[in-house]
Structures are given as structure tokens and as C-alpha cells.
């Protein structure tokens, strides 16, 4: 009994320590965001000596933070939605249509995911230059789609593989075409997985820095991630406004996740087949 209690206590201690390790940087971001400009190095405790909202107001008055956020929202929404659309179509086809070379296609898709983005950003830059897509929102969006689609195809294929084919066969006998069976049966059942793919695409695009920084040079077309980098100068970094910008930049992702997580219901397939 004593061993059990000790084991539980150690278990909890490890959990608490891990949670603190994860949450402390976020807490520290908040502390610095509410600290007066230039005072971050003089913070002595675990909380600011005096609170200020100036860092936040300056973001919107002295820098185009709202524009950056809107750019990020536009790029992340469109790229994640298109990645989901293309990934779902490809994943469903690879799951349901058995054709020669399907396995090879899956491996090739995976290989593209193994390439580090730094290795492909230069050819993409050159390609987009020739296509006249540098310094455009479309260019960044397309770049982000290329990052998200490979995993989206793999993930959606996995979700569709887990849905028994007989459910769609039953729908086809009940009066559906193949497309209608996909729409009425496969898609609703895969929706928790597809939401995960959307969140993954949104978060990847929202946080992405390399492509957004390389493919766009005009400040009004920057995304939030590039905007955050602009607080770091050659000789000094404006930590406090940067942390305030980080807080503002984090909020939409958290809101998207909170909104969608209610739809991440597990066990949706239960009872359909034995």
C-alpha cells in the first residue's frame, strides 16, 4: 500500500514538473508582454513590477499588426482548406481505388515530406520568380499548401482506411452513387480526422516563417510569423513588444483549436460494424 502511494506521488510530481516546464515559457511570454519597454532585463521575480498595456497598443498603432494577422488568417485558412480538399480527395482515392503504383505514389509523397524546407525553398523561390508569384499572398499560400499536402494525404488515407468499405457498399445499394456514398457516409465518419488535418494545416501555415519570409519582401504582405521577426534588429531586440505580438499572434490559433476540438469526437464508428 505504501509503495502504491509513493508511486502515485512520484507519478504526480513528474506530471506537475512536466506541466510547469511546458507552461513556464508561455507564462514568461505573458510577463514580458506586460512589462514596460526596455525593462525586461530588470524583472527580478516571477511577475512584472508594474503592468502596462502599451506594448499591445503600440503593436496596432506603430506597426501593421492587424494587417499581418489578417494576412496570416487568409493564408492559413486558404492553405489549410485547400490542403484538406486536395488531401481528402487524394487520400480517399488512394484508400478506395486499388490501382498499380498506388504504393509507390504513397512513398513518393512521403519522400517529399522528408525533404527539409530549407532544401526546397530556393527552387520554389526561383519557380515563383519565373511565374511572377513572388510578393503575392497566392505565392505564400501555394508554398504552404506544398508543405501540408503530403501529410494531409497520408492522414486522410489512414482515416478512410479505418472506415469499413461495406458501409459505402450498403449506401450504394441503398441508392447512392459512389460520390454520394462518399458524401453521405465516408465524409461524415471521417470528419474528426479531417478536422485534425485542418488544424494541422492551419497551425503549420500560421507558424511558418521560412517560406513567408523568402517569398515575400513587402511589409504589408508579411504574415504574423514574419512580423514577429521584425522586432529583432541588428544590434538589439525589442523583447517586450515582441512578446506582446507573440501573445496576440497565439490567440487565433487557440481560438480555432477551441472551436474545432468539440467536433473531435472519438468513437464515431462504434456500432456500425461488428
Amino acid at each position: 500500500m505504501r509503495n502504491l502511494t509513493l508511486s502515485k506521488a512520484v507519478h504526480r510530481l513528474i506530471l506537475v514538473a512536466t506541466t510547469i516546464c511546458i507552461l513556464f515559457p508561455i507564462y514568461w511570454m505573458l510577463v514580458l508582454a506586460f512589462t514596460k519597454l526596455g525593462m525586461s532585463r530588470s524583472v527580478e521575480g516571477f511577475y512584472p513590477a508594474s503592468l502596462t498595456f502599451n506594448n499591445f497598443t503600440q503593436l496596432f498603432t506603430e506597426r501593421p499588426m492587424l494587417r499581418w494577422l489578417l494576412n496570416s488568417a487568409l493564408v492559413a485558412s486558404i492553405s489549410s482548406a485547400l490542403s484538406l480538399l486536395i488531401g481528402t480527395s487524394a487520400g480517399y482515392a488512394l484508400s478506395r481505388l486499388h490501382f498499380r503504383g498506388a504504393g509507390l505514389i504513397m512513398i513518393l509523397i512521403l519522400v517529399t515530406q522528408m525533404m527539409p524546407p530549407t532544401a526546397i525553398v530556393v527552387p520554389i523561390y526561383d519557380l515563383f520568380r519565373q511565374l511572377g508569384m513572388l510578393n503575392t499572398i497566392q505565392g505564400v499560400t501555394l508554398g504552404h499548401i506544398s508543405l501540408v499536402i503530403p501529410l494531409a494525404v497520408w492522414m486522410t488515407k489512414g482515416y478512410f482506411d479505418s472506415i469499413p468499405l461495406d458501409l459505402e457498399n450498403a449506401a450504394r445499394i441503398d441508392g447512392c452513387t459512389r460520390l454520394a456514398a462518399f458524401w453521405h457516409v465516408a465524409l461524415p465518419l471521417a470528419s474528426p480526422g479531417l478536422i485534425v488535418v485542418f488544424i494541422y494545416g492551419f497551425v503549420t501555415s500560421w507558424h511558418e516563417f521560412l517560406f513567408a519570409r523568402t517569398l515575400v519582401s513587402q511589409q504589408e504582405l508579411w504574415t504574423g510569423a514574419v512580423g514577429l521577426g521584425s522586432f529583432r534588429g541588428e544590434f538589439f531586440t525589442l523583447f517586450e513588444p515582441q512578446m506582446a505580438a507573440s501573445v496576440v499572434f497565439s490567440v487565433p490559433v487557440v481560438l480555432v483549436f477551441m472551436f474545432l476540438q468539440r467536433r473531435l469526437i472519438s468513437g464515431g464508428l462504434a456500432g456500425g460494424v461488428r
Binding site: D166, R172, I173, C176, L269, R274
Partner: protein
């Protein structure tokens, strides 16, 4: 209800042919059971009738219309799947009304048809539940309900009872048979369970390796199996087989067990044969009877209704089934007496049944 005609249907994957020219005629309103061991092609054939599998050659007709190139939804069929295949995100009512909603029937008509099917299958109290909230038997009834609301020309059942426990299987078996009697719709039913086949079918089609071994009324197949496979597949416990040859006026097994043959087996002197006797056609008698085969009791399995006795005569093992009670013990020496009217002989090389001379004459 409609007739289904399957004519010279073949199925091949590349150069590998798995269905070798199937011909079956199902009369309108008939209950046909496709039965056979795993991998014999019975489910594939059913899915070909449903349109879920392409056929390589031949024709399938439903109500006189060739349906080879028709989509499943255009064949006017309904199918009950082995794994139920209920839509997990829909309630029982939504599952049952799905096809009717696709047909864009009026709300009132849909409600009425679902209510009628639910009433037949005793599902009225479960209409608002989801499949995950139902037991196995209830799910199976919903799957049947989903099929009957459509009022199709043909019902297809793909091993619908194989996931149920023994007791439920028996009651569902009776329910399906009753449903057939009530609706009178043509039904094609796939199972690997020969008891299900025997009890439910108007006509049984025994399949093996993508071929039809025999087709006919259940009792006709049981009493007159066309070959050793059918003889061994139908019946539980299975038919006893002894390998040997026709010798004088009887049969002598390889280990020397002699069995007298009726005269109507004609002149088959020296022919290598398999002797088949069903367990219920062997009687346990005193070992002292001159016409009895002497055997040792190796195993006794009382089931309540029947008692199965496994006895060894030389190297041959024979299963005997009898009703009632008998004081027989393991290790005891008994006499076995076969019923001469129920002997089957099969050719050892072709495994086809050898017809007694009088039957050959009557067939000729």
C-alpha cells in the same frame, strides 16, 4: 419478387480464374442458400449479383433484365451484410429511411414505411437510438429493417447470423424464414453453416473452389449427395467414410472391415470405392450378432437430444448418433449395424457418387 438467372458467370483476376462458369436459376419468391467452406466463392457470387463486384464474363439477370452493367442502386435489390454495415452516425430510424430519403419520398410515406418495418421486426422502441446503443441481435434486425423498407425485388443476405451467439442465431433464423414466408420476396442467402442452409432453404447450392458441386432441395442433397464433398459437407455430425473395395457381395475396407452391400449395386467387383454412412444410419447392437461389425467405444458425447458415440473397428473410426438413452461405456466392445437402405458409394478416383443399379435404370 423476381427471378434471378445466373448464366455461365466467371470471375478472374488477371490470369487467375476464381469463378468457373456458374449457372443458377432462382425462381421468383424462392429462398436459395449458397453454402460452402470459406473461400469457395459464395460471398463473391452474392456481391456480383449485388453489383459490388464486376463479373468477367457471363450474364446476371434480375426479373428478366440483364444487370451486368447496372450500378447496385439500379438493380432493385437489398442486402444484409455480415458485419451489419449500419451507418454509425445515423439513428435506427435514419438508417432505415436512408434509401427512402434518397428516393425523395414524402415524409409521411417514409414514416409509415419505417414504422411498418419496425413493427415487423420489433424495433419500434429503438428508432431513436444509434447503432452503438444496440445489442448484436438488435443491430442485425435494424440491418434487415433497412432492407425491407425498400420493398426490393430480391433480398441478398451475406452470412447475416455469423456474428451472433448460438441462441440468438436460432431465433433470428426463424425470424428470417418467417419474414420470407410473410413477404414472399426472392431471397439469396450465403452461409457456411450447413444447418442454416438445411433449415432455411427451398434450394441449396453447394459451392467449392468457385464451382457448384450440387444444387437442389435440402433433403434431396442430404439423401442423394452427388459426390463425397457434398456428402461430407451436409450433415452434422458428418457422414462416415471408409476407403476400400467391392469384394464379393460386400465392401471390404483397407483395414479389413467387411460391410454387406445391397444387391442393387450390381457388378462392381474389385472397384476402389469410398463407403459412406451417416451416423444416424448406424445402430449399436450386441457384439455377438453375426451381421454386426465389432468395434470398441472410444468416446461418448451426450447432447441431451442425441448421443454421439465414436467407435473404432480396426483402424477405422466411425461416429454413431442415436436418440434415447443407452448404457454404453468407453472401452466397451459393441456391434455396429448399418442400415442397408442408406449406404452411399463414391468412386475413389473421381469421388463422384456411384448410383445403385436400380436408380441408374430409373434415371435412364
Amino acid at each position: 419478387m423476381a427471378e434471378v438467372n445466373i448464366s455461365n458467370v466467371r470471375k478472374a483476376y488477371g490470369s487467375l480464374e476464381i469463378m468457373h462458369g456458374i449457372d443458377i436459376d432462382v425462381a421468383a419468391g424462392e429462398f436459395v442458400v449458397l453454402v460452402g467452406p470459406s473461400g469457395c466463392g459464395k460471398s463473391t457470387l452474392l456481391r456480383m449479383i449485388a453489383g459490388l463486384e464486376d463479373i468477367s464474363s457471363g450474364t446476371i439477370s434480375i426479373a428478366g433484365r440483364v444487370v451486368n452493367d447496372l450500378q447496385p442502386r439500379d438493380r432493385d435489390i437489398a442486402m444484409v451484410f455480415q458485419n451489419y454495415a449500419l451507418y454509425p452516425h445515423m439513428t435506427v430510424a435514419e438508417n432505415m429511411s436512408f434509401s427512402l430519403r434518397l428516393q425523395r419520398l414524402g415524409q409521411e410515406q417514409i414514416r409509415e414505411r419505417v414504422a411498418r418495418a419496425a413493427d415487423i421486426l420489433d424495433l419500434s422502441q429503438l428508432l431513436e437510438r444509434y447503432p452503438r446503443q444496440l445489442s448484436g441481435g438488435q443491430r442485425q434486425r435494424v440491418a434487415m429493417g433497412r432492407a425491407i423498407v425498400r420493398n426490393p425485388q430480391v433480398f441478398l443476405f451475406d452470412e447475416p447470423l455469423s456474428n451472433l451467439d448460438a441462441e440468438l442465431r436460432v431465433s433470428m433464423r426463424a425470424q428470417i424464414k418467417e419474414l420470407h414466408q410473410r413477404l414472399g420476396t426472392t431471397m439469396i442467402y450465403v452461409t457456411h453453416d450447413q444447418i442454416e442452409a438445411m433449415t432455411m432453404a427451398d434450394k441449396i447450392v453447394v459451392m467449392r473452389g468457385g464451382r457448384i458441386e450440387q444444387m437442389g432441395c435440402p433433403l434431396d442433397l442430404y439423401d442423394n449427395p452427388a459426390n463425397r464433398f457434398v456428402a461430407g459437407f451436409l450433415g452434422s455430425p458428418a457422414m462416415n467414410f471408409l476407403a476400400g473395395s467391392v469384394d464379393g457381395d460386400g465392401f471390404t475396407s483397407k483395414s479389413g472391415v467387411k460391410v454387406a452391400l445391397p444387391a442393387n449395386y450390381g457388378a462392381m467387383q474389385g472397384r476402389q470405392v469410398l463407403l459412406g454412412v451417416r451416423p444416424e444410419h448406424i445402430e449399436i447392437v450386441s457384439k455377438d450378432r453375426p451381421d454386426a461389425i465389432v468395434a470398441n467405444v472410444a468416446l461418448i458425447e451426450p447432447t441431451g437430444l442425441d448421443t454421439l458415440v465414436v467407435a473404432r473397428a480396426g483402424q477405422e473410426e466411425v461416429t454413431v448418433s442415436y436418440r434415447g438413452r443407452m448404457d454404453v461405456r468407453v472401452g466397451e466392445t459393441v456391434g455396429l449395424l448399418r442400415d442397408p437402405g442408406h449406404l452411399h458409394l463414391f468412386d475413389q478416383s473421381t469421388l463422384a457418387r456411384i448410383q445403385p443399379a436400380d436408380q441408374q435404370k430409373s434415371m435412364a
